[in-house]
């Protein structure tokens, strides 16, 4: 019986270690909705991400309330009037890195495509974004830059301030993942 248990634990240890998951809880996502009238470039430094290096599955998650704006009033309006953070506290991306293979982790810089579903303001949309993946011995660095249209996610800009807020928003992602 003792031998059996020993084998069982060894096996479960092997199963666990064969799951090559890289994670981060303090990645950064910035979005830029600036116009000539107003600078809007908040940053969120508490983005979580998990990448499975076996199959290229990748998940991002962030709390809307963690976006920090230069002006406190703008931050309040963002959460209260635009993305409704109390109703929809999180934004997520769940998808896959296209044509995943282990050569992507050879230390060189590689251009990749991520395909999946992005959810903001409770609305889910399919999205394909360009990104860069680079590794050193310990970490995986991910970066990406893409545009989203606010109207696609049901985020309306009141007529009074329509000249102050850009209708398309540039999103910049920077992640530093460590082995779990």
């Amino acid at each position: 019986m003792k031998q059996f248990l020993f084998i069982l634990f060894t096996f479960s240890a092997i199963f666990a270690s064969s799951q090559e998951k890289y994670i981060s809880r303090n990645g950064s996502i910035q979005f830029i909705a600036s116009t000539p009238l107003e600078t809007i470039d908040p940053i969120n430094n508490h983005v979580s991400c998990i990448l499975d290096t076996e199959n290229g599955n990748i998940v991002f998650q962030l709390k809307m309330i963690s976006f920090k704006f230069e002006k406190a009033l703008m931050e309040e309006h963002f959460n209260e009037k635009y993305v409704e953070s109390e109703k929809f506290p999180k934004a997520t991306f769940q998808g896959k890195i296209k044509d995943w293979n282990t050569t992507l982790l050879n230390g060189e810089k590689h251009m990749v495509l991520a395909i999946g579903n992005i959810t903001i303001h409770g609305i889910e949309k399919e999205i394909i974004v360009n990104g860069i993946i680079k590794t050193n011995k310990i970490n995986i660095f991910l970066s990406s830059s893409f545009d989203i249209t606010l109207a696609d996610f049901g985020i309306e800009i009141p007529k009074l301030v329509r000249d102050k807020i850009s209708k398309t928003v540039k999103v910049e992602v920077n992640m530093n993942l460590k082995l779990k």
Partner: protein, 287 residues
């Protein structure tokens, strides 16, 4: 058979662990506090101080008017011909401490105030946001009335505890127990006691109609009301447009400082002693 089951169980457990819902819950940081924000749109409900603070290094400039009685006829444009005004400057020393300086044309009162937030709703699941508010009023006219013209006779004080709860994203309620102390023998016919003390309970709330407009109301019953005065009652709406908040309302109080509208309101709603008023707030950022 048992062993086989255990083995199978372990096998499935180790493979099923990367379903994407599991990953999302794994990424959650549930130990973080979700602090409530935007309980009210402005630092005032109508007359009463709301739980909201001016943010750090921001200056909130509020200009307020109360006009004559609404039933004073078309010849006075329903009261708009007569009005009193107040200018106030509130500055956020930190996100939790605001200092203010204001002057009201009614009785020519200058006041300085401080408002401090003690705890925010949501911190360790605490159900309320609690703040304290304290103001000193200097009546630049009162020495004319006082029997002895001593400087100390020109001062009065209000202390408030503000307890508010944002019940959901639309509805917020607030209680403001208040204590007023008059240093001076009051000029008002209903009061001739030196060093008068009065207690009142402010009750207020707001309901958001849409993301930019809310309906607000407040009622301030006095516990030991003097004859001739009435409890302040106001109803109105907030309209928020980017950096401005416009508050438009009807109220039976014409004084815009706490001591005045809590204890010295004379207009009866039933007799048409109702005034139109507004507050306009503009925030300037010094970050």
């Amino acid at each position: 058979m048992k062993r086989l089951l255990v083995l199978l169980g372990c096998f499935f457990l180790s493979f099923s662990s990367f379903s994407q819902d599991d990953v999302l819950s794994f990424l959650d940081n549930e130990d973080e506090d979700n602090l409530t924000f935007a309980t009210f749109k402005s630092t005032k409900i109508i007359n009463l101080q709301s739980i909201e603070q001016t943010n750090k290094k921001e200056l909130d400039f509020v200009i307020s008017h109360r006009f004559g009685t609404v039933n004073s006829g078309i010849e006075n444009l329903y009261g708009l011909d007569n009005g009193s005004m107040r200018m106030s400057f509130d500055y956020g020393l930190s996100d939790n401490v605001t200092v203010g300086l204001a002057r009201s044309s009614s009785q020519k009162v200058i006041d300085v105030s401080v408002k401090g937030r003690v705890i925010t709703q949501g911190r360790k699941n605490f159900p309320f946001t609690v703040a304290v508010y304290s103001a000193i009023y200097y009546d630049t006219l009162s020495s004319v009335w006082a029997s002895e013209s001593l400087l100390k006779n020109d001062f009065s004080f209000v202390n408030q505890i503000i307890i508010a709860r944002k019940i959901n994203s639309s509805l917020s309620l607030q209680l403001s127990p208040s204590f007023t102390h008059y240093n001076f023998p009051s000029p008002y016919p209903w009061q001739n006691v030196v060093n008068k003390r009065m207690y009142a309970l402010g009750i207020g709330g707001r309901y958001k109609v849409n993301r930019s407009v809310s309906v607000n109301s407040e009622w301030i019953p006095i516990l030991d009301k003097e004859e001739g005065t009435v409890n302040s009652f106001s109803v109105g709406c907030d309209i928020e447009t980017g950096g401005h908040v416009f508050q438009l309302f009807l109220t039976n109080s014409t004084k815009m400082y706490e001591r005045g509208f809590i204890n010295e309101t004379l207009g009866e709603w039933g007799d048409g002693g109702v005034h139109f008023g507004f507050n306009i707030s503009r925030v300037f950022n010094f970050n």
